[in-house]
Amino acid sequence: MGIFGETNFFGGFYVAAKQVLRPRATTEYPAEKRPKPPRLHGRHVLNRYEDGMEKCIGCELCAAVCPADCIYVRGADNPAQAPVSPGERYGFVYEINYLRCIHCDLCVEACPTEAITESKLFEFSFTSRADAIYTRKELLVADDGRPQQLPWEDWREGEDRHTSGWMRATSPSGAARYEGEVQWSAELGYGVRAPEAGQRGARDDEATGNISLRETQRKKIPVRFGGRRR
């Protein structure tokens, strides 16, 4: 119980003074955004094939698996003259209530056609209950394949790059021989995305759009947690 040393009386002064020279931990949020973790669960999108067909076949598995009961789907037969999806049926009502959604991603797991995936967009603050319910029109990706920006959503250039659940789709489920194999269909606006490298470590972040937080946040990681020495 001395009075010197970092955990004792005068050490407290040293610790506080030391901080003045260190970089700030603050990110000035609305002006500047931190990069998002690659597997963040944001709001959903309904994907389309490269030819513009919707991937959703109205099977309602997502609604069945949803633990929060936030998805409402009604399937209908495709009109013979102008089919919406390649299959027999399509989802003609598709609603997600974001006041209930817990972003567990189970709907994405359940979907047999990769129709519903989760984007990285989580900054949406609607002001009415009606706005909280996203309809099929709003969830569907636009003709350029990017998610539609609703008036109350804050997302910026480049943030759509990490939409859709393509990384989940590349997940080899523990089977090593599927690692790095492309296992999902082409997507409107993006085509076939490069596979995620998984545990082999031979990753191509440029191609996959993955962000390594360890790289981007490098300055803010203390040395004792593997950060760069300054």
Partner: protein, 404 residues
């Protein structure tokens, strides 16, 4: 002695000069409080790896103004069980002394304006530094009555703590001031400053060998109810302490008084121990340099205050009382005797050794007494065979979750 401004009677010119000094000091204090709150928030955020206020104005300087305006327009609540008169009086009792104490601080040298010799301080009463003690005692009433009149439990607890704390530390504060008075041969703040002028080794902090300065600074911080002595507020245990029930303008007054007192206390430390406006000047604009020296030294102490706040956790109540009664007061008293002995020995020559010996013996006695008491208090009764002895610091793993 006394203010040379009044040596030729009071005419219109003198009146105007006094009025200008009062108005300037008033607005200087208000603006500096605004800047101090901003400064504190910025510095403390520096020390906590944050950015701090940066929205209102350049670097967030106007944040305090924005907060003040917000507080101004908030509802002024008066609790049902509050003592209406006292509840309204208490903030004034806090704020007014805060303004007044600054009036005795010399913030510059002596200038001549239209044949009037003007000391750059609002007032130079003959009682000088005693004015500080008197007013800081009144400020205790502000805090105490605020808690008492709120008609609520937590504020009451806060005010009980505050009154006990502020009264205990006032003794050490006073004793430290007495050493300064002995060394500087005068109560008037101007005399004290003048006695330290020109050479920095004449500053009281060196002439009195640091100890009274440390005592004054610690006791002053306690007197201000600033961290780590902010038991009266104790937001974690008392939900805000004595000002829990206050809102709007009245809360603003406590807030104002707290930071104003911080500035004043730093200014007083500078005055008493660091030569006030003393420092090397230059031929151009002679009157300006002392003011800048004074401001610079004050800012240093304000920074130290913020640093202390960022570094130290709040004291436990018994630690607070231990520090005040068993350390500061005995040491201050012993040091006072030493200083007095040295003073006397200047005329009585041989007395210096006797004085030092008496002082040292008393100091040692006080120290050993407080230590013995402390050990007895910490250890408690001897435990039965096979049990761990109380008071012996247990291993970290065995410690109970709450301190006690």
């Amino acid at each position: 002695m006394g203010d040379p401004l009044f040596s030729h009677g009071v005419d219109l010119g003198v009146f105007i000069i006094v009025l200008v000094k009062v108005v300037v000091a008033f607005f200087f204090l208000l603006v500096s409080v605004m800047l101090m709150i901003w400064f504190e928030r910025k510095v403390i955020s520096d020390m906590q790896n944050r950015i701090g206020p940066n929205r209102a104005g350049k670097f967030g300087v106007l944040q305090t103004l924005a907060d003040g305006i917000k507080l101004f327009f908030k509802e002024d609540l008066l609790p049902d069980r509050a003592d209406r008169v006292v509840f309204r009086l208490a903030p004034l009792l806090s704020a007014v002394p805060a303004f007044l104490i600054f009036s005795i601080v010399p913030f510059g040298g002596v200038v001549t304006i239209a044949h009037h010799v003007v000391e750059l301080q609002v007032a130079d009463p003959p009682i000088g530094i005693l004015f500080l003690l008197a007013l800081s005692s009144i400020a205790v009433y502000g805090v105490m009555l605020a808690g008492w009149s709120s008609g609520s439990k937590y504020p009451l607890l806060g005010s009980v703590r505050a009154s006990a704390q502020m009264i205990s530390y006032e003794a050490a504060l006073g004793l430290a001031i007495v050493t300064v008075i002995l060394e500087s041969h005068g109560l008037s703040t101007r005399t004290i400053v003048d006695s330290q002028a020109r050479r920095f080794w004449d500053w009281n902090v060196l002439r009195l060998w640091f100890v009274p300065f440390v005592i004054f600074f610690v006791a002053g911080t306690a007197e201000l109810n600033r961290p780590p002595f902010d038991l009266a507020e104790g937001e974690s245990e008392l939900g805000g302490g004595f000002h829990t029930e206050y809102s709007s303008m009245r809360f603003l007054m406590f807030y104002l008084a707290e930071f104003m007192n911080t500035i004043t206390m730093s200014a007083v430390v500078v005055t008493l121990f660091f030569g006030g406006p003393d420092g090397p000047g230059f031929k151009v604009v002679r009157w300006l340099w002392p003011i800048l020296w004074f401001l610079g030294k004050t800012v240093v102490f304000l920074y130290i205050q913020v640093w202390i706040r960022a570094s130290l956790p709040r004291l436990r109540y018994d630690q607070l009382m231990n520090l005040g009664w068993k350390w500061l007061i005995p040491v201050a008293l012993g040091w006072l005797l030493l200083v007095a002995a040295v003073q006397v020995s200047r005329t009585w020559g041989f007395g210096v050794f006797g004085g030092i010996i008496v002082g040292a013996v008393l100091l040692a006695l006080a120290r050993s007494t407080s230590r013995r008491r402390g050990e007895l208090g910490r250890a408690g009764p001897r435990p039965p065979e096979g049990f761990e002895r109380l008071g012996v610091s247990p291993a970290v793993a065995d410690r109970p979750p709450a301190g006690g």
